[in-house]
C-alpha cells in the first residue's frame, strides 16, 4: 500500500456529498470475451461449504463472501458476438425492442450514482476491451485502454492556466453546441421516422454533453486526489504490472470516491505469454481440441484473470469503509463473468458468473435452475444487484423476477 497516501491519514474524499450521507455502494465488473473452461471454473459441489475450483483457487480467502452461479445465461445461441450482451441480456441488433435499448447493468447503476461523483463510470481495458458497457441510447461506452491514460484521466491535476483554458474551452464548445444543436429541430416533427430517430440521438447527445460540460465546470476548480503510480513502473512492463496498475487505480478511485462504477475487461488481443506457461494466443487456447497442454494454458490465462481480481478484492478488503461497518469490499458489489459460456464450444449457455462482496448474504456455489430444470435468466441477478443500490425497479431487460440471496 505504499504510495497510496500513507496508512494513517484517511484519503481525501472527492465527493463533498459523501460526508455525512449514508454509505456509498460501488460496483465493479470484470469481464472476459471467451467465458471460462467449465470443468475448471465451476466447483464440483454446491452450497456454502463448496470446494474452490482450480481456476478460482486464488479467491479461496474470500469464499464466504462469494457466490458462484451455475446454470444462468441470456438464452443466446452459440457463437462469438453474443458476449456484447453480457451486462444487458440484449444484443445491439435487438436493442430497439427495449425501452432502454441494450443498456448494460453498470450504466443503470451509474445513472443512479453518477451525479454525486466526478466520473459517473469508468470503463477500462488493456489494448482493447470487451464490448460490455452500453448506454440507454444503445451506444457503446468509451473505453480507456491504456493505464497511463487512465492515470491522467483520474488523477492528473490541471495548472491554474490549464483550468482557465479548460473553462474557456467549455464555454466555446458550449456556444458551438448552441449554434448547431437544433439544426434539424423541424425534422423530428415533419420528417421520416428513421431521420427523426437519428436526429433525436444527436439532440440527446447535445443535451447530455451540455450537462457534462456543466458538471465538469463544477469539478474543474477542485483538485483531484493524489495517487502515486511510480511504484508500478519499476520493472518490465507486463500485462500483470499493467493490470496491477489498473486495479490499484480503480480501488483508489473507489476509496477516494472519484467514481462508484467501474468495468475492467480482459480482451482477446492481449499477449498472455507474460503469464507463466502460456505460449499461445488466448483465442487459440480456447480451441484446444481438448489437448491437455493447450487446455492448461487456457486455465493459466483464466486463473491469471481471477488472481488479478483477487488481488483487487484484497486491496478493497484492507480498507475500512468510512462511516460504516465492514471493509470497502463489503460495500462494493463485484461481478465477474462473461457473455460467452465457453469459447471451446462457442456455447453461450451456462455462463461463468460470480458475485463477491457487496454485503450480500452469500450462498457459495448455487444451481440457479428452477423446478422445471430451466436456467435462470442472468438479468434476474442483475435486477437484484440494481435493487442493492436502492434503485426501485422490478424488471431489467429480460428478467423474469429477481434472484434471492440468503436471508440469515
Amino acid at each position: 500500500m505504499k504510495g497510496i497516501g500513507g496508512a494513517l491519514s484517511l484519503p481525501f474524499l472527492e465527493s463533498t456529498a459523501f460526508a455525512g450521507q449514508k454509505t456509498a455502494t460501488r460496483f465493479l465488473v470484470v469481464g472476459n470475451p471467451f467465458g471460462m473452461h467449465p470443468e475448471h471454473f465451476f466447483p464440483k459441489d454446491f452450497g456454502k461449504e463448496f470446494t474452490m475450483s482450480r481456476t478460482l483457487k486464488s479467491l479461496d480467502w474470500v469464499k464466504d463472501r462469494t457466490t458462484i452461479f451455475s446454470h444462468t445465461d441470456h438464452n443466446m445461441v452459440s457463437g462469438h458476438g453474443r458476449e456484447v450482451a453480457f451486462l444487458s441480456g440484449v444484443l445491439p441488433t435487438e436493442a430497439l425492442a427495449f425501452p432502454e435499448k441494450n443498456m448494460s447493468v453498470d450504466q443503470a447503476v451509474a445513472r443512479h450514482t453518477g451525479a454525486q461523483v466526478r466520473y459517473p463510470s469508468l470503463n477500462v481495458g488493456l489494448k482493447n476491451g470487451v464490448r460490455m458497457s452500453w448506454t440507454s441510447n444503445g451506444v457503446e461506452n468509451e473505453l480507456i485502454t491504456d493505464p497511463k491514460r487512465l492515470f491522467d484521466h483520474l488523477f492528473q491535476n490541471l495548472t491554474a492556466k490549464e483550468k482557465q483554458e479548460r473553462r474557456e474551452m467549455i464555454a466555446r464548445n458550449g456556444s458551438i453546441l448552441d449554434s448547431v444543436g437544433d439544426q434539424f429541430a423541424g425534422i423530428i416533427k415533419s420528417g421520416s421516422k428513421t431521420d427523426a430517430e437519428r436526429i433525436d440521438q444527436y439532440q440527446t447527445s447535445v443535451r447530455e454533453l451540455e450537462t457534462t460540460f456543466a458538471n465538469r465546470e463544477q469539478w474543474i476548480g477542485r483538485d483531484k486526489p493524489k495517487f502515486d503510480i511510480s511504484n508500478h513502473y519499476n520493472g518490465d512492463v507486463t500485462i500483470e504490472s499493467e493490470y496491477n496498475a489498473i486495479f490499484d487505480m480503480i480501488s483508489f478511485a473507489f476509496e477516494s470516491d472519484l467514481t462508484r462504477v467501474a468495468t475492467v475487461a480482459f480482451p482477446t488481443e492481449l499477449g498472455y505469454t507474460d503469464v507463466p506457461g502460456v505460449t499461445r494466443s488466448y483465442h487459440g487456447c480456447t480451441h484446444n481440441g481438448k489437448m491437455d497442454d493447450v487446455t492448461d494454458e487456457l486455465v493459466a490465462i483464466e486463473s491469471f484473470q481471477i488472481s488479478q481480481l483477487s488481488r483487487c478484492l484484497k486491496k478493497l478488503d484492507s480498507i475500512q469503509e468510512p462511516n460504516a461497518d465492514g471493509s470497502m469490499l463489503d460495500h462494493t458489489v463485484v461481478l465477474f463473468g462473461s457473455g460467452m459460456g465457453y469459447g471451446g464450444t462457442h456455447s453461450n449457455r451456462d455462463l461463468p458468473i460470480m458475485v463477491a462482496g457487496g454485503g450480500f448474504k452469500h450462498l457459495g456455489h448455487v444451481d440457479t435452475r428452477n423446478d422445471a430444470g430451466e436456467n435462470m435468466p442472468l438479468c434476474n441477478l442483475y435486477l437484484t444487484l440494481l435493487q442493492r443500490f436502492g434503485i426501485e425497479r422490478d424488471e431489467f431487460n429480460t428478467s423474469t423476477s429477481n434472484f434471492e440471496f440468503g436471508d440469515a
Binding site: N75, M76, V77, S78, G79, H80, P92, T135, N137, G138, V139, E140, E142, R172, N173, S175, I176, D178, S179, V180, Q183, F184, I187, G191, S192, T194, D195, E197, R198, I199, Q201, Y202, T204, S205, V206, E208, L209, T212, Y233, N234, D236, V237, T268, T279, R280, S281, H283, G284, H287, N288, G289, K290, M291, V294, G344, T345, H346, S347, N348, R349
Partner: protein, 844 residues
Amino acid sequence: MREFFETVPTLTRLGRRLNRVGLMMIPCWVMGLTLLGGIVLADQALMKEHCFDCHNADKAKGKFELGFLGEAPTSDNLDRWLDCLDLVTAEEMPPEDDSHLVALDRTKIVAYLDEKVRRFEKDADFTEAPKPRRLNNREFSNSVRDVLMIEDVGTHQPTDNLIGDSLHHGFDNHADMLGFSRFHLEQYIEAVRKIVDATILSGEKPESKRYEIAPENILRSNLKQNGGRNIQRGKDGVFDFLDPRLFGYFEEFVTAPETGRYKITIRCTGKDRLIYDSAETGFYDGDPIQLSVHLGNRVRMFDLPDEEIFEIELDEWVAAGSRLQMHNPTDAFRMKGNGNFKFQYAIGAFHTQKNNPEKYAERVARIKKSPRLKGSVNRWPYWVTAWEGARPQVFGAVIEGPYFESWPPKRQVALIGEDPKAENAAAILEPIANRAWRRPVREGELDKIVAMVESKAKTLGDVEAIKEGIVGILVSPAFLMLNLEDIAPADRFASKLSYFLEATLPDDELREKVSAGELASFDACRTEVMSKFDDGVSDEFLREFPYGWLELNDINFMGPDPEHYLHYHKKRVSEDMVNEVLQFFRHAVEENIPIPEFLSADYSFINADLAKIYGVEDVPDDSQLRKYVFTDGRRGGLLGMGAFLTSTADSLATSPIHRAVYVMENFMGIHPTPPPPDVEIKEPDVRQAKTIKEILAAHVSDENCASCHEAIDPWGFAFENFDPTGAWRDEYLVPVVLETDEDGAPVPSSKNEVTIPIDSSAKFRNGSEYQDIREFRREILTDTNRDRFVRCFIEKLLTYANGAEPGELDFVAIDAILTKSSEHDYRIVETIAAVVDSPLFRGK
C-alpha cells in the same frame, strides 16, 4: 404493345431461372410465355404432392411446414417463400434421394413461387429509404479533409481520440453500428478543433530554421517503458538500424516545433543485403532494403539502393507536435527463437564462424575475457555489434522549416481568404457549409453559427472566431449524418455515390452532373463508375469493400497455432494473405472480369512467402505479389486463398462447418440457421483418432441436427485438404492417445502421431457429388450456384453502399440487377453500375 415490353424483363428473368433448372434447349421467352399462362392456375397441389410428406405440422423437417406459405406471400412469411424458391431452383428440395419430381414439374413449381413473390413485391412498398447513419471514422477524416481542401487531416494524429468503428459482418460502415452519443459528439469537437488548428494559422508567421543533423545526433528509440537508460546514437559517421523493431529519430528535431511546410533531406543507403542466408533471416534476396519516414501518422516509404548513397527528399505540411521518425519496415529477422529480434544476432555468430574464422577467433577471444561470460560464445548478446543483416543506414539529414510560400499560407487563403473578417462570416462560411453538408445551404440555416462567430470575434479575434464557425459546421448533424431523407434526391444520390466509391463527400463536378440529370441512365452510371476506377480515386472502395465482404479483419481472430505454424507467424504471412485478396480484387476491377471468375480463376497473386504455404516453387525470391497461374486445379481465385482458409480454421484443426458457413454466407448468399440454444455442442477433441467427418457423422445421425447439416456440410468438406494455414495436406496428423492398462496407467507407444487419410468428398442434397476440391470447384460453378454467387456479391455491394443489408422485399429489385449483370457477362464494373442505377441505391 407497351404492356408487352413491360413483361419482357420478367420473361428474361424467369427464363434464366428456368434455364438453371435444366431446360436450356427451349428459348427462354417461349418457355416464359408458355408458363405464364399456367401460373394463373398456379398449382399448389404439385407442391403439396412433393413436399407435404416431410413438411407437415407433425413432421416439419428443417422446422418448415408447407402451411407456413399460406396462399400467397405476406410480409411475415416472405422469407419462407424465398427459401423455397432458392432450394427448389437449386434442386436441393425435394432432396434427390427422396424425390420423384420430374424436371417439367419442377419448372412449374419454380415459376409458381417466382411469380407469387414477384407479384407481392410489386404491390408492396418495397424500396425502403436508406438508413441514416453517422459517418464512420474513415469517412469522417476524408470528408473533413475535402471540406478544408487539404492533403489529409494532419500528421498529428488528430482523430486518434475517436471511438473505433465496430464491424457488422465485416463492414465498418453499417448503420446499426453508427449511432450517436455524447462521447461521439465530444470526441468530434476535439478532433475537428485539432484539424482546424493545424490548417488555419493566426498570428505572426513563424520563423524558419535549418537543422543539420549529424549521425551522432540520431538516436534510437527504446523499447523499455522507463526509457532514458541506454540511449544509443549513431557513431563513426553512420546511424545503423541494427534492430528493426526500433525507430531512429533526430535529437534536435524530435517533433515539429511549428505547423507548416518542411523540407527534409535524409542521406542513407541499403547495407549488407546478401551477407546472411535468406533462409535463416527471412529476408528475401530479391527485396529492396527500405526506409520508412514517419511524419506523425503520415508514412512515406523508400526503396534504398545497395551500398550507394541516396538522398530522400520530402516537402511536407507537418502539424506542430508531430514526431519525425525513421524505421526499417521489413517483416524479416524474426525466424530465431520466439521471434524476438535479439535472438537473430546469433545468425551473425554462426556466419562469422563459417566464413571468417580469423575474425571469429578474434571476437571469441574478446568474449572469453568477459568476466560475466555465460553459456556458449555464440549466444546472441555477444554478437550485437557484429550484425551484418540487410538494413538501412542513415548518414545525416537536413531539415528546413516551417517555410511558407506566402503568408497567410495559400491553403488558408483558399479556404477563408486573405484577411477574413467576422462581419463577412456568412459569405466565408457558406461555401464551406455547402461542401460539408453536400447540399446548398438553406435560407437562415447559417444564422446561428454566424451570430456565434460575430460574438466570439470580440474576444477571440476574427480568424479564431471564424475557426469556431468552421468547427460548428463540422460537428453539425448535416455533416456528421449520411443518408438523411432531408436532402433533395439529386444531392443524396451524388452523396451516396461518392461515399460508395470514394468514401468521401462529392465534388462539385459530380454534384453538377447529377443535378443536370446526367447520371440518370445505366449507361451513364457505367461510364461514371468506370471513370472513377480509371482516375484512381476509388482506392478506398477497392480496399474496404473486399475487406468487409470477406471479413478479412478476422484472419487472426483464431490464428494458426504459433508452435506448429512457424512460417505463418514469423513472416507475418497473414498480411500477405490479406494483400493477396485485395490485389485480386483490384485486378478484377481493372480488368473488368466476370464476377464468377472470383471462383473459377486458376490464378491468384502471390509472393515467396505465400508460395511456401501454397507449395509452389517457381516464383521470384521476393515479397512482391505477382499473378501466378496454378496448374494443379486446386487453387486459384478466392477458394484457394489463405485468407479464407485460415480465417475459417481453428488454430490446431480445421472445421468444415466454419468453412461451409463462410462459403454459404459470403459466396452463396445462403444464411444457415445457427443451432438452437439448447443443443449440446460437443467440444472438438483432436486427441481422438477420428476424422472430423466421423465426428460429424455421429452428429448428423441425430435427427434434430441432420436436416440443417445435410444442407451445410457439403459446402465445407471440400476444403479439408487445406490445413489451418491453407497449405495442402493429404493426411491428418493426430497425436496418439496412449492406451491405458488395467490399472489405468498409460501404455507407452513408439509413435507420437498417427496419420489418417483425408476424405474430402461430399454430396449435396440435390444429389450432385464431388470427390475433392477439383470437383467441388466445378459444382460451385453450375448455373444455379453462379447466380447465387453473383446475387450474393450484389447483396454485399448493396450492404456496403447503403450501410444496411437489402431486405427480403428487395428480392425482385436485386433480380433486376442480376439480370442486368448477366446481360453484360456478369462483368464487375457493369454489375457495380447496375447497383448504382438500381432503385435500391437511388431511392424511390
